[in-house]
Symmetry: C2
Subunit: 191 residues, 2 copies
């Protein structure tokens, strides 16, 4: 998606350790008008697909997923990273390793929010090795629901997540796929 | 706001320990159409006020704040609960005690996202003792910016947060103020 690629080139910065900082419009400060355009693009890419629910994971996926839920006219559910005393009842659970935070999270969704047979669109801001998306897929499949597709804002194409998930047969729609990036020159090449 | 009060009565449940569960539309599954109506109400309540930015805290405030940012046509910034390797540079910092999770969080916002003199509307899903809102106010004031107001979806009127902040002179606009609630009968009374 050219709008997103242009924005990443303009406002993103490349840091050592394969870190792409897009905190001024995507995952700390948020540009909602951009999110709405991204949501329209996913609506186009999933035209004709049955989507009953949007699933994302806290925290930085939520803003993008809100625009997507509005565009599709369905509810949004976000998976939580820790047990809360407000979350009783039956839970779908999995573990997700975070590339960014270098730790493992217990991730939960209340069972009542993903029903058997529902078609779910998984949304997240980033995909690198695919751990978050794979965890969200496990939650959906644990509810005997259907992963209709995976929408990622920025995929790091030089890491394995996208390849693994496409080989498993999932429809993965990343709006920007970074082929390579260079912390020294700041150059970003898109697929 | 009658729409929100009706929804709390219909879909909220009262649990022991002054817990009001609204996870099926507000803070786990999210009803974006409701959020958009809430955003319109805050737009009305802050008519004539200068609002340059929306500030909330991860995770459950983000969805509501996205609708508010769209309605006001300004960027949204969400405060983060832990240091991330992606967050370098100068940070505004404070500590917030969580009523729900019974722990203290370090909360940070990158300095570059709240500028001196900016007028900020603080948005959150819940207010009980006001710790989260007070922490967000500290972040704004630490940037020499102005807290133009505080918009809360659900205020627990039987706890001190709202009283403390209104006495300090802040314009606090809570869309539903719970005066009392009873875990045995499930009854909820609004102010």
């Amino acid at each position: 998606m050219k709008l997103l690629e242009d924005r990443i080139r303009k406002d993103g910065t490349v840091k050592e350790g394969n870190v792409l900082k897009v905190d001024c419009f995507l995952n700390h400060q948020m540009d909602i008008a951009l999110f709405d355009e991204m949501a329209k693009e996913w609506k186009r890419l999933f035209e004709g697909h049955r989507i009953d629910k949007i699933l994302t994971i806290e925290a930085s996926g939520i803003g993008i997923a809100c625009s997507v839920a509005r565009e599709f006219g369905v509810p949004l559910v976000f998976a939580k990273k820790a047990q809360s005393i407000n979350l009783d009842g039956d839970m779908l659970k999995t573990e997700i390793q975070s590339f960014t935070h270098k730790r493992v999270y217990n991730v939960i969704v209340a069972k009542k929010f993903i029903s058997e047979g529902e078609h779910v669109l998984v949304i997240d801001d980033f995909m690198a090795n695919g751990c978050a998306a794979i965890g969200l897929i496990e939650l959906v499949e644990g509810a005997n629901a259907v992963v209709e597709g995976i929408g990622i804002a920025i995929e790091k194409g030089f890491q394995d997540g996208g390849k693994i998930l496409r080989e498993r047969g999932f429809k993965v729609e990343s709006l920007a796929i970074v082929e390579s990036m260079d912390a020294k020159t700041g150059e970003i090449t898109f697929r």
